[in-house]
Structure formats: structure tokens, C-alpha cells
Symmetry: C2
Subunit: 226 residues, 2 copies
Amino acid sequence: MDNKPLILTVAVLGGTGKEGKGLAYRWAKAGYQVLIGSRSPEKAITASAEIIGLLEGSGSVVGMSNPQAAQQANIVVLTVPYAAHRETLESVKDVLKGKILVDVTSLSVPPMVTKVQMLPAGSATQEAREIVGEGVEVVAAFQSISHKHLLTDEDVDCDVLVTGTSKDARAEVLKLVEAAGLIGWDAGPIENSVVVEGLASVLRYINKQYGSTHSGIRITGVSRNS
Amino acid sequence: MDNKPLILTVAVLGGTGKEGKGLAYRWAKAGYQVLIGSRSPEKAITASAEIIGLLEGSGSVVGMSNPQAAQQANIVVLTVPYAAHRETLESVKDVLKGKILVDVTSLSVPPMVTKVQMLPAGSATQEAREIVGEGVEVVAAFQSISHKHLLTDEDVDCDVLVTGTSKDARAEVLKLVEAAGLIGWDAGPIENSVVVEGLASVLRYINKQYGSTHSGIRITGVSRNS
């Protein structure tokens, strides 16, 4: 549909956490250049060494500070807990212009992790857009993916809903979803992010209620090849 | 888990609409006494005759005004468009005490039917709770079920997420879900209704985007028999 060159460099901010490491592993394996960002460059370097170990030699993963990683990447993926959301965005916003920011954060403040919490902006992703300002495409994705399956090569039985500021940006992020071995869906404008993020709380509730650790969703009634 | 008698009388307010008729048909077929409510008792009587026709003789469906239906039922299901939400609730709130109100409404005001819209209360279901006041259990469910399949005996390839003010009320509504031939999940407290309702907008977006008329969701990673 579009003839843009494949975007090759992805920064994973907060990439020393479980979710970030899992996504970084999958993308490095798919051939992306991956930059792990952290507040602590030392921790980022340790995490990237871990991921390289799992990759058995093939794949490029480099650790550095969050701003350095964001500066060098085409797509910047934010995987920090909500408590570090604003601070991390403030630390990188000057280098995000013209890029795509993928926000994996959902507002989940313990102990209320199974109850949807609302922000004045609506969702964490909409709050991110307010923080980074104009000129950055902001997309929500990957909130409900169980990190346990990402670091192995297991199939992940959960679709990824992708919402965000433009259809082109969502299409780019859908390529990242596919590269991670997952099935993704364009789920509409950034206003729909409240559903994408809130679903993570609902699935945690279902996990607790029905004794699972990795409930997810599948979209039905639509051809997966369209 | 509980020894309450099976609740047998269900009122479907706005039951002359497609969604309401579909649910009424399924519940009458399952042996519930169904009361169709409408602002126009004449239209309610016509709709109930239609449903009785489909049932081929077995099943009890009676048409009447919304307040009469709400008065006589144990569970009251609201299937009106959002534009009639407040007015319908005001017309029945005096007879709801001690009952369960199931809100099928989601905030979807044309032409923005594929974009999640927020209310000061959060969701339509939370707004309903504000209107009906204390002493009524308020539950959200069935927003994303395509009415096209309900009036036939087709399998519906979409799970039902049930959120609401108490676990007992959600359990009662899960019985109605099952009676309608659907698979339901306790999806947590009423604050989670924003996800259940917003999902309807997201699925309409996916329908439009991927050329479907009946996209839905399935919960994965949890045993369906638990």
C-alpha cells in the first residue's frame, strides 16, 4: 500500500523491563536494529547483552540512555510503568519530531490493577500526545501481550489492537506487530486508545477471576488475511 | 455457587429495536418469561407478536409500556439508543429498586460511531447508575453482539464481557448470557464498563476497515469451562 522504506531502527525505552525485553528480542530476531533505552545506560547494556545471548549471535541490540536511543531510532516504543511515563516522555520529547511514538503504557496503579482508571486526557496514550506535542505520531499498542511468551518463541494467543493519530502511523506499527509474530488490527483513532489500554485491566481481572496468567483476545468475524 | 431461584422474568426496554428483539427471542426460547417494553405499548405488542411467530408456539412474550415491563420483571434490560437513555431510565427508576438493570447502551452518537466517546460519568452504564441511584444493581453487557445473528439460531462468534456493581449481579447476568446461547465473562467492576462499551465502537471501526459486518472478540488463554 505504501512505498516507504522499511523502518529498521526501533528504540525500546524502559527496555530493561520484562515487556520491553520481550518485544526487543522479537524485533531483533526479525532483523530490526534494536536500541534498548533506560534511565541507566549500564542497565540497558546488561539487558541488551541478555537479549543478544538469547538470539544466539544473529541480531543487533545495543543499550544506551533513553534520549540517545530515541534520537537514533525511527520508531520509539515506550514500555515504562505509568509512574515513569511523564518523566520519560519529557526526557525524550525534543528528539521525537517526525517520528512514531508507540505507547505500551496503560494506567494501572497498584493495587487497583484490575480496575480501569481514567485520566483527564482519556488514556495514557492521549496524555503522551499532550506531552510530546505536535509533529509526533502517537500510537497505542501491545498493552495486553503477556511478556512471558515474548522472550520464548511460543505462539502468543492474543491479538494486538493498534490505535493512534494517523492511519499511516498505525500501518507502520502493524508491521512491527507482524514482525513480533503477532496478529494486529487497525483499531482506529487515538480516542479509541482508552479501550486498548483498559482491556489490559479487564484481562488482569479475568486472569484473577478465572485462574489464568495470560488471558487475551482474538478478533473474530473478519478474515485474518485482509 | 448461589442458591437463589432462577430469575424468570426479563423486561427488554426498547425491545422493539433489532438488538432488543434478538435478545428477547433468545431468552423466550430458553424459557424465560419476556416482557417487551416500549414508549409505545402498541409497538411493543406488535414486536412481541413477531417474536412469538418466530418461536413457533413455545415461549412467553408480552408487550407493554416500559414502566409496566420494568415493574413486573426481576431483571430489566435496557436496549434503547443513547439518545433515549436518560429519558427511559427516568421513566422506570421508581420501580427498579432491588432489581438488576442491564445496560446494553454504548455512547455512540452518529456520525462518530467508530470513535470512542467519553461521558463525565465514564460510560453510559455509570451514567445509568447515577440516574437510578442506590439500591439497583447496574450491569453492562451485550453491546458488541451483532443483532443479525440473534434472531436466527446462528452461532454468535463473539464473547460477552459483563461488568457491574457487584459480583452477584454479574453472575445473574452471566446466566442470561448463557441462556442466549453466548459465552460470557465476568469482566469486573462497573468502572470497567468503559472498555465493554468502547469495544463496540472499536469493532465498528474494524468492520469498516476490514470489510466485515459482524466482527467480535473471543477471550483466549482461559478455559471456557471454568
